[in-house]
């Protein structure tokens, strides 16, 4: 026969007295939301991987696409995105410090660290806007064949040429078009007059074509500068679509995170949590903010490194 104490305990279980997960419901709900969000992002990233494996020869190599760094000339692969990663990790750290200060009921420290977290988030969103701007404006330009394949211009030394270098010559032209708009006839005339120039697919082990074939491709095709959802100069159309979608969806998460952080920051200023006697809200938004950082770690690897 069960003792009175056990019966009491049994009764408590059914009244919600026991906490099998040892966490409050707000935190649990945040966790389950994050779990489902993690599955969403993994769906996007694996779909990206699938398309990339499928179109290996025309899939752009990320380090040839994202080469800009503010204030620096020439090719700077990975540097800018590394800086963005650093900013996001840093703002994750200030968030942990805010949560930590909240557990000690140190309102001044929470205010300070929350503010830094918001600043970090803003800088990250701004950096992403800058990267999108350069991605959309484009860099070297490319040729789109009548079968919607993207091809890049190369010289006899195997160096990739921009429209600027092709049309204005190697000395006068720049490695980047710097926003200059070219016409198909200009590019076609220059390509025809330089017998050693040819076209090549953008991906790893992409196919090269002869000069004659290249001229035919351009005559029946068109030129592409920059990127949109329909065509982009970097390569396979799906590349830009996935770039816009995945970094856009992540950027939207960061943006909402900044707004949520700001609301919590405002409440800290008002003293809402001081009155409530605990800073659990800071902990909950902290979980969301770390999740945004976690997703970026994966986006960084699968979009820019691998």
């Amino acid at each position: 026969m069960a003792s009175t104490a056990e019966m009491m305990k049994e009764e408590n279980n059914w009244k919600g007295g026991s906490r099998p997960l040892g966490a409050r419901y707000g935190k649990l709900m945040m966790w389950f939301f994050l779990l489902s969000d993690a599955l969403t992002f993994s769906g996007f990233l694996t779909a990206y991987g699938l398309m990339r494996f499928k179109y290996e020869s025309t899939w752009p190599i990320a380090e040839n696409v994202f080469t800009h760094f503010p204030g620096l000339e020439g090719d700077q692969p990975l540097l800018y995105v590394a800086l963005m990663t650093f900013i996001l990790i840093m703002s994750s750290v200030t968030m942990v410090l805010a949560v930590n200060a909240g557990e000690k009921m140190n309102r001044k420290a929470v205010t300070n660290w929350m503010l830094w977290t918001i600043v970090g988030g803003f800088i990250f969103v701004g950096s992403q806007a800058w990267e999108w701007y350069h991605f959309i404006i484009g860099d070297s330009g490319a040729i789109e064949t009548s079968r919607q394949e993207i091809l890049h211009i190369y010289n006899a030394d195997g160096e990739r040429l921009s429209f600027s270098q092709l049309v204005h010559g190697m000395e006068e032209g720049h490695a980047s078009n710097h926003g200059e708009i070219f016409s198909k006839s200009e590019v076609l005339t220059s390509l025809k007059s330089n017998m050693e120039y040819y076209l090549k697919e953008p991906g790893k082990e992409g196919e090269s074509f002869t000069h004659q074939q290249s001229v035919v491709f351009l005559e029946s095709g068109d030129i592409v500068q920059g990127a949109n959802m329909i065509r982009n100069e970097y390569g396979r159309k799906q590349f830009a679509n996935f770039f816009f979608f995945i970094t856009g969806f992540h950027g939207f998460h960061v943006f909402s995170g900044v707004i949520i952080n700001f609301i919590i920051f405002y409440n800290v200023l008002l003293g809402t949590y001081e009155k409530r006697g605990h800073y659990r809200m800071v902990e909950k938004v902290g979980l969301y903010w770390h999740f945004v950082d976690l997703v970026w770690v994966f986006v960084f690897t699968f979009f820019y490194l691998v």
């Binding site: 040892g22 966490a23 993994s42 699938l50 942990v96 976690l294 770690v297």
Partner: protein, 102 residues
């Protein structure tokens, strides 16, 4: 709740994440020749990137998101679905993907 004293453990994880990211960026820029050999359907370099990423993810989830200090039941509730479903989806898409459009 946190059992740790002070904030040194936060900065420790910060340095770990920073160093790993630094190593990834340096490897990504110089791309050492010996690491480009094909391995497991990709290259050794890519495997290194993925392993380093998982280490970083582990630190963020375990320490920053406090899962290390949660009850076993909550750990299972979070880890089991993600560690079963995500590798499963990846496996299915990357193997079956070969048959796309054939």
């Amino acid at each position: 709740m946190a059992e740790q004293v002070g904030t040194w453990w936060i900065w420790k994880v910060f340095w770990i994440l920073l160093v790993i990211t630094g190593v990834e960026v340096i490897l990504g820029i110089i791309k050492p020749e010996f690491m480009l050999m094909p391995y497991l359907g990709t290259s050794i370099l890519n495997i290194v990137f993925i392993v380093l990423t998982l280490v970083k993810a582990g630190y963020i989830v375990q320490v920053f998101m406090h899962v290390k200090y949660e009850k076993k039941a909550l750990k299972y509730a979070l880890y089991l679905p993600s560690l079963i479903l995500i590798p499963y989806l990846t496996f299915i898409l990357l193997t079956e993907g070969t048959y796309l459009f054939t």
